[in-house]
Amino acid sequence: MDTIKTDYLKDKFNELQSSSADDVLSNIREEGFKNFNKVGLPAPHNEEWRLTGISNLFKKEYHLSELENTITIADIDTARLPGYENANELIFINGKFIPELSTIRSSENDCIVLPLEEAIKTEYKNLIDEHLNKSYRFIKDGIHALNTSFMHGGVFIYINKNKVLQHPFYLYHFADARNNHLLSQPRSLVYIDENAKGQLTEYYTTIGAMDSFTNEVMEIVVNTNAIAEYYKIQNDVANASQVTTTHIRQIGKSYTHAVTVSLNGGMIRNNMNVIMEKEGNEAHLYGLYLLKRKTHVDNHTLVDNTKPNCFSNEFYKGILDDNASGVFNGKIFVRQDAQKTNAYQSNKNILLSDDATINTKPQLEIFADDVKCSHGCTIGQLDEEALFYLRTRGISKELAQSMLLEAFAEDIVMQIKHEPLRKYVEELIVERLSIN
């Protein structure tokens, strides 16, 4: 039997540390690797990872590819998302941000986009010091530590005060798995300053038939009166697995709106964390997973209310076919101080096959007394009554089915506020759900 192979990581880590000069990142990595060695990869008995066997992904050796930039403009063109002409397009190859291939359309007045290594040499040093890797305090598991151990080639995005960006950010993550199994570990820090608004979309593309494993961490810091809009679209090949951690800290009274759409891939784990660090924060988290074959998607959400009067709403929906499996785990913390918290959560699923499975679990930990929390989940089949109704009007069974499934999905798709993206996702879904 294959056993876990992580020894090679030590060599790669030492290589990286000796090749890189700057202290700030080097120290963070050092700390990260220490933690990684201490806790190791999440094991099956780890409650948070029980249903997503990530350690299986490490039964092989990955390349942590250095600058062999084999992805061409033509490759990038095939992945561009609608609306790209107006977007700030950030290209990541094998986990590294590649400025030369990226296009920033916003002016420097509006926002700054720099490789992390460069950014810490600028006036933003203190800000980065203060916020980079703050997610570690919440996420003690080895997979997060592994990303931190190899934090280099990341990106720093700063959106200036009072700037409502007209150009959304599109982050394209390319993994070149043509020759080797590839581990890419993108890392980014996004800071949306007071009264500013930023929109980010992440998209993942694996090229090649070997396995790719993306272990991503994005930290988003949202200051007072700022708005963070975040979209994640996962529509990669079956040999592409990923753990993505989106760690949003609302450090001032602010607003978050996030939609995660998972359509294809291997084993996917999404950690979506929102930390309410100031009174009066608001967050809306949505998710849609349309899964078939053997795709596994695990959405772990965390809303941590540390201050009073915060509002959060989570709505995740899934349609699972074939042998697909899904997990929804929604954790809500209401700390002692967080009186008058309003936290809602709902997870609805349709299983189209007997072999598809979904595990859904709300986890409410409430230490304040004056709070409103609710959660609900449903697991069902297509509504037979509705199906019959449509058929009695002359609509074929297959078409009626796809109409109902599209309607089910539309609740979430409509939450994509960026129109070109919404239309794009709508088309993908229509294509997926149409008669097959």
Binding site: D383, E385, A386, F388, Y389, L390, R391, T392, R393, G394, I395, S396, K397, L399, A400, M403, L404, E406, A407, F408, E410, D411
Partner: protein, 254 residues
């Protein structure tokens, strides 16, 4: 047009219909009355093709075709329409899109081109007037949040749009106030013609006053125990089902 012969049917092992015979010709309006639970909706469901019901005996021919062999959608495309007693709410599916899809599926089946947007809108407008339904209802999801009366009106609107050869209206009048009933009944009357047959299932004389059916049948315990003209309905209204005691006890005995 429709020929029902000796239909027996059961659901979940429970026998509900015990030998129904009914002949309906083009242009005719038939009323089916009967106490709650006597099997009226079951009969309608069987005609529309609901799969939970098992026909254990008998046959249904529609325009010469063995209807029990057809899928629900093909029955509709052949010209059958059922106005549901309890129309379902379908969140997220717009009523207009749904009707357009239905209409074009039917046209496709009949070898016709899909309706272009302009013709479709024109037709919508015309039929909306016919059944006095508000446009705002049609932009919403199918029946979602509709009042009872609005749902029924939407059923008649769909009937107007799909122009069936045979329409079965299952208690389309129940739950309607007097005004709504008048509107719905007028709508149905306008949809009457010599090529179209209508079966109305109802408890009440009110609707029949408007529609003036050609025939009235009384269904008890899964059998038609009495058939007659519209005077039978008046008699029922006056005396209740009790006056059919003999037939009732006969049906009971079965």
């Amino acid at each position: 047009m429709l020929s029902i012969k000796n239909i027996h049917a059961s659901v979940e092992g429970k026998q509900i219909l015990n030998g129904i015979n009914l002949e309906v010709k083009a242009g005719e309006v038939h009323a089916i009355m009967g106490p709650n639970g006597s099997g009226k909706s079951t009969l309608a469901s069987i005609l529309a093709g609901r799969e939970d019901y098992e026909v254990t005996e008998g046959s249904v021919f529609f325009e010469g075709n063995d209807m029990l062999e057809l899928s629900p959608e093909d029955r509709a495309r052949e010209g059958l329409f059922l106005a549901f007693q309890y129309p379902v709410e379908i969140p997220g599916v717009s009523t207009t899109n749904f009707i357009k899809t239905a209409l074009n599926e039917k046209r496709k089946y009949n070898g016709q081109e899909p309706l272009d947007a302009v013709s479709f809108l024109k037709m919508m407008k015309q039929k909306m007037q016919l059944v006095e339904i508000d446009k705002s209802l049609l932009t919403r999801s199918i029946n979602e949040g509709f009042s009872g009366g609005e749902k029924k009106r939407n059923e008649i609107f769909q009937m107007a749009m799909l122009e069936p050869k045979l329409a079965i209206l299952d208690e389309t009048d129940s739950g309607l106030d007097i005004d709504a009933l008048r509107i719905v009944a007028n709508g149905v009357n306008k949809l009457r013609n010599e090529n179209r047959a209508i079966i109305v299932i109802t408890h009440y004389q009110r609707l029949l006053d408007y529609l003036q059916p050609d025939f009235v049948h009384v269904l008890v315990n899964g059998r038609i125990v009495r058939s007659g003209t519209k005077e039978l309905a008046l008699e029922l209204e006056e005396k209740g089902y009790d006056f059919l005691k003999d037939e009732l006890s006969l049906a009971e005995a079965l």
